[in-house]
Symmetry: C2
Subunit: 153 residues, 2 copies
DNA sequence: TGAGTTGCCGAACGTTATTCGGCAACTGGG
DNA sequence: CCCAGTTGCCGAATAACGTTCGGCAACTCA
């Protein structure tokens, strides 16, 4: 991860669909060089993939929420099972496994409040390991897909 | 947003860096057709961008947390200002504006616990509109960049 | 019914991805 | 100090791709 790798990564975070030649030009190397760097970054697991950012409303996901979930007992089996279960649900965008009073925070989206409610009641209330949950509606979600580098690094 | 658009969007969510020809072949149209569809999807704001998914540890962001924040007064000015402020911090990955007892949930990352603590103390505690906050460490984060379509849509 | 419109196709052409041989700059042992 | 090995970058060559555009078929609506 030298300065060249960082510059390439930054460019791919900013726009993953620009041509390799454009990236090479912006970071100041030959296209063959940046291509090889990108190949190595993928191989090393630094680059995990490239994904389109889609407007949720276009996917019939007009309402979003964060659901804090507590499960019991707090065993590895229960935690892993619940994580896998939640991750497999189509309404689930993201699963956070947490320290603290909540064991999970689940970012979910649905067509409207009615569908969200149905999802929570039908899916979550069936799971016996859940001993409590709390749902908070998201009004806005600002996601930074190309965060500025941390200071002092 | 017909079935062809959806198929193209799905492919770009799965791998935003595959060639237009590959996408066209997978969704069963000519390359010129899928190219035009993609252009229109961008124009309509359905596709908002393409971003590389980078392993956090490679960016010196080994520790992540969710910070629930309460601000006062609950005026539009205060909320918008805080959202802009938080979104501008390099440690912040994502800002959720919430309904419920917490006004914001901020997804942050830092090099280690020490840097995280310094960030919270130095940045958040300076803001007079904050009347309370709670930090929860994230053990694991499972993000689905290409969620399955919602059932019944 | 027929003129207008829309959306897709396929060919053409300029651009890009990908490979690979070579070269220069480093590295470590003698 | 020297030199053999290694590493990383470059530039040329070719296959693949992006992009444009004329044409055609299917739909729309009067």
């Amino acid at each position: 991860m030298d300065e060249l790798d960082s510059a390439i990564v930054r460019e791919l975070q900013r726009d993953a669909r620009q041509s390799n030649r454009d990236i090479a030009r912006k970071v100041g190397v030959a296209p063959s060089t940046s291509l090889e760097r990108i190949r190595l970054l993928r191989e090393r697991g630094v680059i995990r993939g490239y994904h389109a950012d889609i407007a949720p409303s276009a996917l019939n996901r007009g309402v979003q929420a964060l659901v804090s979930v507590q499960v019991r007992p707090l065993s590895r089996t229960v935690i892993d099972n619940f994580k896998t279960f939640a991750g497999g649900l189509p309404e689930v965008l993201s699963v956070f496994v947490m320290a603290g009073s909540d064991d999970f925070v689940i970012h979910v989206s649905a067509q409207d409040n009615e569908h969200l409610h149905a999802f929570l009641v039908d899916q979550l209330s069936q799971r016996k390991e859940i001993v409590g949950w709390r749902t908070s509606i998201i009004f806005q979600h600002l996601a930074k897909h190309d965060p500025a580098p941390l200071p002092g690094t």
